[in-house]
Amino acid sequence: MAYTYNSGMQAESNIEVHKYYGGVVTVVALLAIVLQAFLHRYGRWSEFADLPLLVTIYFGVSKRSPVSGMLLGACIGIAQDALSHDNPIGLYGIAKTIVGFIASSVGARIDTEHPASRFALVFVLYHVHQGVLAFTERVLLNRPTPFFTIHLLIVSLVSASVAVVLFSLLDRLRRAS
C-alpha cells in the first residue's frame, strides 16, 4: 500500500516503491506507443487517450524515482517523436521528460493510489504536458500551438478517466512485495 501523504526526506524514505516483473515497463511502454500509433489510423479518437503519456505518468508515480521517471519519459517521448512523420526528435521527448520527473516527484509525496487522486494527477499533468509541448513548439518551431482550449479540456478529462481504468489494469502487473 502506498504512502498516503508525507513530506520531506524522512517521509520519502518510508514510502512504498512498487516493483514490476522484468521487462514489464519496457513492454508496456512499447505496447502503449504501438497501440497509440495503431489507434492513430482510426482518426482523432487516439488523441482522447495519449497512452504513452499515461504510461509515463503511471510508472513515474509508481516507481517514485525522478531519475527513472524522467528517463522513461524521455525514451517514450523520443520514440513517439520517431514514429511521427512531422515532429522533430525531442519535441515529445522534452515534454514527457518533464512530466515523468514531476510525476515521480509528486508520487513520492501524495497518495496516487486513489482513483480520484489519479484522475486529478493525470488531468493536471496532461495540461503540463500540453503546456511544455505548446511552449516548445511556439519557441522552437514557430507553430501557433494553443496552451489551453475547451477541446484540450475535454481531452484531458477523457484522458484522466481512461487513466483511472488503465492504471487499475497496470496495477495487476506489480510484483507482490
Partner: protein, 335 residues
C-alpha cells in the same frame, strides 16, 4: 559545484536531458533561409562576442594608428610641406615657361607671316620710375640695330615707339603716354584722327569731329601718316565717345595689353607690312581677322577737320627714306 550536483542530481539530470533534447531539436529544425536552428543559435551567441572583439581590436588599432604610430607624422608633414612648396614653385616655373613659349610662338608666327619686313624681338626688362610716364625698357639697343622712332608692336597690336637708345637697351614710349601721338583711322569709315595719351591707362582718339558717328567696338588702325607705324596695324577698338568742342573725345581699348607687356617686336623699317599667306590680299591688319581692303588715304578720303589735323600733324614729320635719314623729331601730336 559537484556537491550541488550531487544533492540535486535529479534536477541536474532533468536539465541535462531537456537541454540535450533541445539541442537535438535545434539540429533538426530549420528556420528562415533554411538555416538550422543550432547554427542560428550558435551565430547569435558567438556574433556579439565577435563583434565586441572586433570593435575592441579595431579601436585599439585606431588608437595605435591614430595616435601612437603618428610619432613621425610631424616630420613627415614638414617634409611634405617642403615638397609641396618646391612643387608649387616648379609648377609656377612651368606655367611661366608655357606662357613664355606661347608668347614667343605668337611672335614667331608674326615674324614668319611678315618675313619681308625687318623686325627684331625684344623682351621688356623694366618700366619708368615716373608713374605719369608710360615708358618701358627693352633688352635690345643700338647694337641690335634699333634706332629712335622705330615702331614697337606685338602680334595683337601696336605698343609705341623707341624714344631713347643705348648700346644695349632701348626705351619705348607707349601709345598711352601724354607725349605720344599716332596717326589713326577707323577701319570702316576711314576717318582719320590722332591717337594720344591723356594720362589714363587707355589712350583717346582726338581730332574727330562731332559729326562723325562713332560706334563702340569700331576698329581703329594705324594710318601710316605719322611715318613711324606702317599703315594698317591694329590699334584697338572704340570703347566709347564723348562730345566736345570742337572735337569729340573717343576712348580707345588698345588691342595690345600695355600693362602686361613682356615680349615685343621692334620694326626696323617703316615699310608696310604685307599679309602672310593666310591673310587676304590688301588687308594688312595685324592681329585682326580679314578686313575689307583699305582705301587709299588722301585728301579725297580724309575729309573734315580730323583729316586736316592729322595731315597737318603728320606733315611736320619727314618720311624717312632710309635708316640714316630717320628723323629724331618729337612724335606726332606731341605738344
Amino acid at each position: 559545484m559537484p556537491e550541488i550536483l550531487t544533492r540535486h542530481r535529479p534536477l541536474a539530470l532533468l536539465a541535462t536531458l531537456v537541454v540535450a533534447q533541445i539541442l537535438l531539436l535545434a539540429f533538426q529544425i530549420k528556420r528562415n533561409s533554411n538555416v538550422r536552428l543550432i547554427r542560428y543559435w550558435a551565430s547569435e551567441i558567438v556574433t556579439p562576442g565577435e563583434k565586441g572583439a572586433s570593435s575592441t581590436f579595431s579601436g585599439i588599432g585606431d588608437i595605435w594608428s591614430g595616435y601612437i604610430a603618428l610619432r613621425g607624422a610631424h616630420a613627415q608633414n614638414l617634409r611634405l610641406q617642403q615638397e609641396l612648396g618646391q612643387l608649387e614653385l616648379r609648377n609656377q616655373e612651368l606655367e611661366s615657361q608655357a606662357a613664355e613659349a606661347k608668347r614667343l610662338s605668337a611672335l614667331l608666327d608674326f615674324r614668319e607671316a611678315h618675313q619681308e619686313a625687318p623686325m627684331l624681338a625684344a623682351q621688356v626688362i623694366g618700366g619708368s620710375a615716373d608713374p605719369s610716364s608710360h615708358t618701358l625698357f627693352i633688352n635690345k639697343g643700338e647694337r641690335s640695330g634699333i634706332r629712335r622712332n622705330d615702331a614697337v608692336i606685338t602680334p595683337t597690336g601696336i605698343v609705341g615707339k623707341i624714344v631713347e637708345v643705348t648700346p644695349g637697351t632701348a626705351q619705348i614710349l607707349l601709345v598711352n603716354d601724354r607725349d605720344s601721338g599716332v596717326g589713326a583711322l577707323f577701319s570702316d569709315t576711314r576717318t582719320q584722327g590722332i591717337l594720344k595719351g591723356d594720362g589714363d591707362p587707355e589712350p583717346v582718339m582726338a581730332y574727330v569731329t562731332n559729326d562723325e558717328k562713332v560706334h563702340p567696338g569700331e576698329v581703329i588702325l594705324t594710318s601710316g601718316e605719322d611715318r613711324i607705324f606702317p599703315k594698317g596695324l591694329l590699334i584697338g577698338t572704340v570703347a566709347g565717345s564723348k562730345p566736345g568742342y570742337p572735337f569729340q573725345t573717343i576712348y580707345v581699348n588698345t588691342a595690345a595689353r600695355l600693362d602686361r607687356l613682356e615680349d615685343v617686336i621692334v620694326l626696323l623699317s617703316q615699310e608696310d607690312l604685307h599679309p602672310g599667306a593666310n591673310q587676304s590680299a590688301g588687308n594688312v591688319v595685324v592681329g585682326l581677322p580679314p578686313q575689307p581692303a583699305t582705301q587709299p588715304v588722301g585728301p579725297a578720303s580724309a575729309t573734315g577737320p580730323a583729316a586736316t589735323a592729322s595731315a597737318s600733324s603728320v606733315s611736320s614729320v619727314a618720311k624717312p627714306d632710309s635708316r640714316a635719314a630717320k628723323p629724331s623729331a618729337p612724335s606726332i601730336g606731341r605738344p
